[in-house]
């Protein structure tokens, strides 16, 4: 079932001379992780904002084409209250995601369910569970302003996880996370997909996303350049040709291939996706 449909979507920021997104048509299905990859300025962040209905409402600019999120046509429905608590949108600045009025991390995570009018027992259960799943229960009594970048990112993720959204839109969610944090994020994304949520992640972290995403959409200059399986695409040259890069092992092989001329076949595609594959292939 399609949780998000973009139909010939074009978006341009106010004052810009080119479209940030051009003629994008995409169906995002529930129960799967879709990964957006692209070079800087390719349009991944804008695509997330438009999909959440936050652009052009909050950013300005013009949009053409249709965006249907969770059955609601965002262009024709001025009342967005029905979507409250159904879409999680994590932007690239965790500090600006905070409510600014919560005295503790616990209150910060409970902010959305309280706004949604849940009863207090349900809020308590959901908040404790979300903090536990992101490994930040120990921070519950801390003031949000005192957290480190990684802690803050986990709290922001918990503050969205708490209301069990049907659609996740995440912009570079792993940027501030350490290795255990990235592992926890991957587990959370898999868990949310199993629960039936539709997940769209814009991320440069090819190594982290390679084993999490079922689908890879590569954007180039605001257009869809490639759409396919990460398992297939990351082993080849297509993502590199689109200027979006790839895994660290592919980068290593490509660099080594330019040094060792003629390049030995083991440095050519298909590239290994992770360490265990690299060891098998290169030793």
């Amino acid at each position: 079932m399609s949780a998000l449909t973009l139909d010939h979507l074009t978006f341009r920021y106010a004052g810009a001379e080119v479209d940030a997104l051009h003629d994008i048509s995409l169906d995002i299905h529930a129960g799967a992780v879709t990964w957006l990859l692209g070079a800087l300025g390719a349009g991944s962040s804008t695509l997330l904002l438009v999909s959440a209905g936050l652009a052009p409402q909050h950013t300005g600019g013009t949009r053409t084409g249709r965006v249907v999120a969770l059955g609601t046509d965002l262009g024709s429905t001025p009342d967005r209250a029905p979507l409250a608590g159904r879409i999680a949108c994590v932007t690239a600045s965790p500090l600006l995601q905070l409510s600014g009025v919560a005295a503790t991390v616990w209150e910060e995570v409970a902010f959305a369910p309280a706004n949604l009018g849940w009863d207090i027992e349900r809020i308590r259960r959901a908040t404790d569970a979300a903090l536990g799943r992101l490994g930040v229960s120990a921070l519950a009594a801390r003031a949000p302003a005192t957290l480190s970048g990684g802690e803050l990112q986990r709290v922001v993720l918990a503050s969205m996880l708490v209301f069990e959204p049907e659609l996740w839109l995440l912009d570079e969610p792993a940027a501030a996370l350490d290795r255990p944090g990235r592992g926890m994020l991957a587990d959370m994304l898999r868990g949310e997909a199993r629960r039936g949520a539709a997940i769209v992640v814009a991320s440069e972290d090819a190594d982290g996303m390679a084993r999490v995403a079922e689908r890879l959409v590569v954007l180039e200059h605001g257009r869809i350049a490639i759409d396919g399986s990460p398992d297939t695409l990351l082993r080849g040259e297509a993502t590199w040709t689109a200027g979006a890069g790839g895994t660290a092992f592919a980068a290593l092989a490509r660099r080594a291939a330019t040094v060792a001329q003629p390049a030995p076949p083991l440095l050519l595609p298909p590239y290994p996706l992770d360490l265990s594959e690299a060891i098998t292939r290169w030793t």
């Binding site: 209250a81 409250a84 600006l96 209150e107 409970a110 706004n115 949604l116």
Partner: protein, 247 residues
């Protein structure tokens, strides 16, 4: 129930703090000058100390000091009318009374406001509003406005540090400091504007405008003493006004 530890001001119901501050501001103008405002200032200082906000007393005094000096200069030194000796100075009797009344009003209002600001807990206030079923959206905007000044200060400090790291010399004479304000102001204003947009987006996602009554997470206790104080304030104001009008 949310009854955080701390001084009396931190334990009081948030509406009581607002009522007291409002009451002080009104009384400062109702009570007859010059002794009324001066006595009120003394009472407010005592209340602030009892309520556990001594920093509000010193902070307000520091804040008012230049204004007090200005009032003294304008009314007492330059002012006309009967002159009296005040130590080595010869000052206007009417002027010194007017300056004392204004200084008392300023001191009382500044001390009460600073005590409120220092003991204000946004989440307790918002929970109190939610419990009453009042507009949470409007209350959030009110709290965000109250918090704008400290946020601006924090952000300015970060920008100054960043600009210094990039070679900006902030010290020196007034002219140099004024020139250094330009690379500080632009990123500060632009940053705040973009921050407003992004925060608005985050709040919308988190259901701030969901259109349902918000659940208070830990509403502050509204003790009998709080209710008595809140009822007493308008009564005291009415009595003071009546006394002032009939005397």
């Amino acid at each position: 129930m949310n009854n955080r530890r701390g001084g009396l001001a931190r334990r009081a119901h948030p509406f009581t703090l607002f009522a007291v501050t409002g009451g002080v501001a009104a009384l400062a103008f109702i009570l007859p000058a010059p002794f009324g405002p001066l006595a009120l200032y003394a009472v407010v200082i005592a209340l602030a100390l009892i309520a556990g906000t001594p920093a509000a007393v010193s902070g307000a005094a520091l804040l008012c000091l230049p204004l007090w000096a200005m009032l003294f200069l304008l009314h007492a030194v330059i002012g006309g009318g009967e002159r009296i000796a005040l130590g080595p100075l010869v000052v206007s009797r009417g002027g010194i009374e007017a300056a004392a009344a204004q200084a008392g009003r300023l001191g009382a209002i500044a001390t009460a406001s600073l005590a409120l600001f220092r003991s204000f807990d946004p989440s307790r206030f918002l929970d109190a509003v939610a419990r009453r079923g009042w507009s949470f959206h409007a209350a959030y905007l009110f709290v965000a406005t109250l918090q704008a000044a400290p946020r601006l200060r924090e952000r300015a400090a970060t920008i100054v540090a960043a600009q210094r790291a990039r070679g900006l010399r902030y010290g020196g004479g007034p002219l140099r400091r004024l020139r250094a304000l330009v690379p500080l102001t632009l990123p500060l204003v632009l940053g705040m504007l973009s921050e407003v947009d992004e925060r608005a987006m985050a709040l919308e996602v988190r259901g701030l405008a969901a259109g349902v009554p918000r659940t208070p997470i830990a509403p502050p206790a509204d003790h009998t003493a709080d209710r008595i104080v809140r009822w007493a304030i308008p009564i005291v104001l009415a009595l003071a006004l009546a006394w002032r009008l009939t005397r």
